[in-house]
């Protein structure tokens, strides 16, 4: 007996679509890196990286179809990470 409904199956075309988006975003981030924007370089590169990571998490790692336990605990981990990186950097930058 199964203790849950049949797991959701992603189609090949769905996965291929995600792959194409990820490769395109890689192209964008490499292309943008040749444009010198001074201070904005890091935030833009990180924003594109976050977008790519969201696609990997939602589709390749199946997060879009998971229950609340995994989704909420991941959000908790990421929040902790942001506090850890944010507050440490804040301390270093404005000491």
């Amino acid at each position: 007996m199964d203790n849950q409904d049949k797991p959701h199956v992603l189609s090949y075309s769905q996965l291929a679509g995600v792959l194409i988006i990820l490769l395109a975003l890689t192209g964008v981030t490499v292309g943008v890196s040749y444009v010198h924007m001074g201070f904005l370089n890091v935030p833009i590169a990180l924003a594109i990286a976050c977008l790519k990571v969201s696609f990997v998490l939602l589709f390749f790692m199946h997060l879009k179809y998971e229950g609340p336990v995994i989704v909420l605990s991941l959000i908790g981990t990421v929040s902790f990470l942001m506090i850890m990186i944010g507050f440490t950097f804040w301390d270093v930058a404005f000491r």
Partner: protein
Amino acid sequence: MRSEIDRVGLKIGMWLFLYSEIILFGGLFVLYAAYFHKHPASFAVGGKELNRVIGALNTVVLLLSSFTVAASITAIQKGSRKLTIGFLIFSIFCGFIFLVNKYFEWGAKIHHGIYPNSETLVNGEPGLNIFFGLYYVITGLHGLHIIIGMVLLSISLALVLAGKIDGSRFSMLDNSGLYWHLVDLIWIFVFPLFYLVL
């Protein structure tokens, strides 16, 4: 007696482990941020030494392998065993290509006297020494994760070949896949931070 498989429980366990990995690499990124703030000029000089082409190539290789790992899980659920095996072999091969690229990349650096505790770094700018220290620790730890990921995928492949993983019980493959995607996730941040923004 039938034993029940708690698929959700197995998955939650894997995610808990992945959270600890996220925090592990997060700590290293904190170090990167703090030292980048302290030595921006040296980091820029160090970043220019890294080969963007190899970095971009490795990004593509990892994204491609992440896709084939995800596709292998779709294949096993649809019952096409041969396709699963093909996708897994390709993914492991991608991991191997990644490591070969890394070998050439590190080899070129070491050839130029850039390695931990080398004369050039110890007697040079402190910021540059820190940059390459972080570079070797982060990419080295990431490379170790690639090797572990390849081992996990190989075990899954062996279990598929032995018929122990099939459309009704594939948690081992699922969890190995999650691990492989995490390794990909980390690289998505390592690549711009070391190769692009500087």
